[in-house]
Symmetry: C2
Subunit: 406 residues, 2 copies
């Protein structure tokens, strides 16, 4: 920072910029005068802060608002779609996904690369990840937008204090400094690289998508099953960042062995690969894009295929047992089915409901609400990218300072 003005002024401006940007985010089309009224800032201060936000392309002007006052205060403001984008990466068990998300939360240039990452070491997967990020950076350049940082979603335990990936059982990885290694390989990437658990990113995406949902568990079932808990509008990541591992709730303690070494984990009984096997539509991992295999399952279910129906109902029952345990422990009123469970919801809903109704103690007073996410199977990669733009909206001066080179 070479700006010669005193530190106190920076702090105040930084705080006020965030106030103004949040007001714009909360109410697209808002006028400068309305922002002044809502924030309690002087109109001149708002105008000067808005000028900086416009220059950094964090906000854009809309046409004149309906009841325009004098001068520029009659122009509406919204978050800029051509401002900084978050770059999201998801290292899935059998795919690699990337996307860009703009400040308004809209996703662009989503790319999905099927491929079984279990058969490849950390080194190889990281090399693919670096290539995928570079492609995504070119997507951003082609759109003419800057990238504000990278969010990386992984199917494992990410330690909150260090950002280390401590354990990813389905990948067979332990203690990998993904953030550090990606940073070293991608010195050209502006902004931070943030590694997080895929289920937490997916739950966060759900939270940012639907402001009225403030307390829920978002569960997504791919090869591994993860959950993210949102309590009072904030992600609850646990003491060390390891919460939500519902894939390893013992739902049948004497049941079949799970990849983690224990018996009867939910992952082993209701993970997507096991559903596909039981339904008779399983292929070698990576042979077909996962979405295509899931489509085939849905086609069979729609056609009334008995084997497929039974497989999905069984999974719904096991999922209901695990979610009953989770809701009894944590007390959230709503379950949001995401990922492949959202796709399979019509066929697993009844079995799931029955377990929740019987097994959640508080269901006798208030039944657990079960809803289906509209985000599809991209929730985690989208949440990873969105986490970057949320950081910019929460504290725009960090981006502005970097962007303006001061």
């Amino acid at each position: 920072m070479t700006d010669p003005s005193p530190a106190g002024q920076h702090t105040v401006r930084r705080h006020n910029s965030a106030l103004v940007l949040r007001a714009v985010a909360a109410d697209p089309g808002v006028s400068r005068a309305a922002i002044a009224a809502r924030t309690g800032l002087a109109k001149a201060t708002v105008s000067s802060l808005v000028d900086r936000l416009l220059a950094a392309d964090l906000v854009a002007e809309t046409g004149p608002v309906a009841r325009a006052g004098r001068g520029r205060s009659g122009t509406g403001l919204r978050l800029s779609g051509s401002g900084p984008h978050g770059l999201g990466v998801e290292i899935g068990v059998d795919y690699l996904a990337t996307c860009l998300v703009d400040l308004t939360g809209r996703m662009h240039a989503h790319r999905l690369r099927p491929g079984d990452n279990r058969r490849r070491g950390v080194q190889q997967v990281l090399a693919s990840t670096v290539r995928a990020v570079r492609t995504s950076l070119r997507d951003a350049a082609a759109r003419g937008v800057p990238v504000g940082g990278i969010g990386v979603a992984v199917p494992g335990l990410v330690e909150a204090a260090t950002g280390l990936l401590r354990l990813a059982p389905n990948l067979g990885w332990r203690d990998v400094d993904l953030g550090g290694r990606l940073r070293a390989a991608l010195p050209e990437v502006p902004g931070g690289i943030r590694v997080g658990n895929e289920a937490d990113f997916a739950a966060a995406a759900q939270l940012w998508e639907s402001a009225e949902l403030r307390d829920f568990v978002h569960v997504s079932g791919e090869i591994g099953i993860g959950a993210g808990f949102v309590v009072d509008g904030a992600l609850f990541a646990g003491v060390r960042g390891f919460s939500g591992e519902i894939g390893h709730i013992p739902v049948d303690p004497a049941g079949p062995e799970c990849g983690c070494g224990a018996r009867g984990c939910l992952d082993r009984l209701a993970g997507l690969e096991w559903i596909l096997r039981d339904a008779g539509v399983w292929d070698e991992p990576g042979a077909r894009p996962p979405a295509e295999v899931l489509d085939e399952l849905v086609a069979r279910l729609s056609a009334g295929d008995q084997r497929a129906g039974t497989a999905v109902r069984h999974a719904g029952r096991w999922l209901g047992i695990a979610l009953a345990a989770a809701v009894n422990v944590l007390d959230v009123p709503t379950v949001v089915l995401g990922g492949s469970y959202a796709v399979l919801e019509p066929w697993l809903r009844e079995a799931l409901r029955a377990e929740l109704d019987t097994r959640v103690l508080s269901a006798a007073c208030e039944p657990v609400r079960v809803i289906r996410s509209e985000l599809g199977r991209d929730a985690a990669v989208r949440g990873a990218a969105t986490s970057i733009v949320r950081t910019i909206i929460d504290d725009p001066d960090v981006f502005i300072a970097g962007d303006l080179g001061t």
Copy 2:
């Protein structure tokens, strides 16, 4: 409030009184000068606030402190043991307990009345509760101390927003306004009546007892099994206050039917009554004081009785499975065994550990710590009483205003 001074002064004094009292609580024997140094308040302000706290018997003076300065600042201050006491009541499934707790956290006049509350209606149990509270009030009068309010621990779901007992499956109660009914029957009781879940009160008692434990689940096994979660030094009660119902985690989904109607709940497989049955030391509920029956079990275990040993090991295994589910969901690093589990710990520890080590995903990085509570089986009633004195310590002016009749 008839005090004519402006509201602003009240607010400041109220805030500063709490600051001073907290400084005394944190460092018994502290001098007025040291409080001034630590809080940043002027010495004269501290002296005047301390005089009010002394007059209300919230603090007491110790002898001169070691390196005494000039005048009264050389006298140490501590919380007063003869100041207001919290009155705790626990409505157990097969007993009724009461106690008093002073400001220093010491318990007095603990009384335990065995008796099966399942066979009696709400009306009858409440009548016994009212009598027990009156006895406890007489205990306080005999000690010459005022009572600051009543905390009531119950084995059921207490709705945070309303204070209603929504459901107590082991008592067969639903939607009881315990607080309102006790208030109506006990108009003479000063202060508030606060109803809460027994497992949450027990966990809070554990938190207040051991300042170094900041993140844990406290599990206590009586006829019902309850858990209280403490995250970052605060009780985590869930969205509606219904968290910690680990007694209804399905540990053997196809297992025997639980009182709640579901199959294979932890309550049904590791609740104290079922352990006693399996061990062959079971009596009709209320026939003997529960502690006496537990003593008999411990005697048999110590003598190497095989049936007793197997029963407790099985319970430890089921408990380990349920706690593995809870830790996978919520991510706490420490399990505190309380209540009868603390008593049985030497005989169930190994089976419990084995399940936690195998089934908690993060245990591969950091094994779950298992410790035994020193609080004994009185943790819930103690926590209920302590919650009242904690309220006074957090905001002493409410008590002073009531006490001084202003």
